[in-house]
Amino acid sequence: MSADNSPLVIGFLCNWCSYAGADMAGTSRQSYPTNIRIIRVPCSGRVDPLLIVKCFEEGADAVLVAGCHPGDCHYNEGNYYGRRRFALLRALLDFMGIERERFRTEWVSASEGKRFAGIITEFTDQMTKLGPRKAS
């Protein structure tokens, strides 16, 4: 949670699709909330669950992992591995009291700038409604 009480969202964006998608959102003058702190990673399959758990440990309200659409991975199969990992991790985090909504995975291609802006806006709104993390 940042100082002005708005949610802090950490975004892991894959270099080849989603980061380029965020770039596209910028060059096409889409606006979206500044709550997201973007971390550029080579692939969504590179996102170690440790990174996500660490974000929550350090007080992030939400984590977004965005990668290439299934079938479009630059490394052919990175996002398939990631998909399994994140599905399992989300269940564990939910069981430990971090609501399912707080950890989201999205597939955003390099041309989907407008969609990227929409996802961030919607996600931030959802987190604002949900409020800060409890008991942690």
Binding site: P70, R84, L88, A91, I98
Partner: protein, 287 residues
């Protein structure tokens, strides 16, 4: 029954050591209190009478095979332990031809008691649907057929709570954790030479014993066993502050069954769910 099991294990161990099939037999012997079993390493056929088997034989001896890589070893395995054998075989940590598994159809094991035999069966034996070893070269006892595992009432109870209550519950547990890593040391699936928790670069978990660091440790320990935990529950048994670690393990086990229809350690060949994938699966994320 226990006496008969003990006799059969001793005879087999003697035969294996005398014939030179293995250099060492890992089994159980009576501990210093005269009641509870402890792990025993027998190298000489003259010593096989140390070996025993009864309902205090709780340890998962498969863990010790990791220290005997490349050396022929026989190991006494209960049903749950035998799944660990499959886990380590599938992960290429041990070689099948170097391990001789003396399987025991497990009668269930009891809680630990000093100087006296507890009559309380461990919780895990109530959940267990694998009393017969899934892999063995020699079987002690009559195999039993069992139904697949039923649901867990305590997990359902926990899942029915609000996120806030669950977060508070796990925060409380993290406050009690002393991060002795006994859970890791007892676990046959935790064998990384450099565990993430001890890395200094990057420093995933700080050295101070703070609740949030403990929370991170317990979360990631459980996740690293996701789809790999073979439900021997040794982590929970050895925990000096009695953290309910099996709640996390069993929740993940459930999710792995639901998502991937997979149970760890049931076969030597099936890869763990997180090291493989299907292109056209729907896991409810990114959709």
């Amino acid at each position: 029954m226990a006496a008969d099991f003990t006799r059969q294990i001793r005879e087999k161990a003697k035969e294996l050591l005398e014939g030179g099939t293995v250099e060492c037999v890992i089994g159980y012997e009576t501990g210093t209190d005269g009641v509870s079993a402890r792990p025993a390493f027998v190298y000489d056929a003259a010593d096989v009478d140390r070996l025993v088997f009864d309902n205090t034989c709780t340890h998962n001896l498969v863990k010790y095979l990791l220290n005997r890589k490349g050396k022929s070893t026989a190991v006494v395995v209960k049903g749950c332990d035998s799944r660990a054998l499959n886990l380590l075989l599938s992960e290429k940590q041990i070689q099948r031809d170097q391990v001789y598994a003396i399987g025991v159809v497990c009668p269930g094991v009891v809680e630990w008691g000093w100087n006296r035999r507890s009559d309380r069966t461990q919780d895990r034996c109530g959940w267990c649907r694998q009393h017969t070893p899934v892999v063995s070269d020699f079987l002690v006892g009559e195999p039993v057929t069992e139904e697949p595992p039923a649901g867990y009432s305590d997990i359902a109870e926990m899942s029915a709570k609000t996120s806030e209550e669950r977060a508070a519950f796990w925060k409380e547990q993290a406050e009690r954790c002393i991060r002795c890593y006994a859970c890791r040391q007892a676990c046959p699936g935790c064998y990384c030479i450099d565990c993430f928790v001890e890395l200094l670069e990057p420093e995933w978990v700080g050295i101070r014993i703070a609740p949030e660091e403990n929370w991170m440790w317990n979360t990631v320990r459980a996740f690293h066993l996701g789809g790999r935990c073979i439900a021997c529950n040794e982590c929970e048994r050895v925990c000096p502050v009695n953290l309910p670690l099996s709640l996390l393990n069993r929740r993940l086990e459930q999710e792995v069954v639901d998502l991937f229809d997979y149970r760890a350690g049931m076969s030597e060949d099936a890869p763990a769910p997180l090291i493989t994938f299907k292109k056209d699966e729907s896991l409810g994320i990114g959709e």
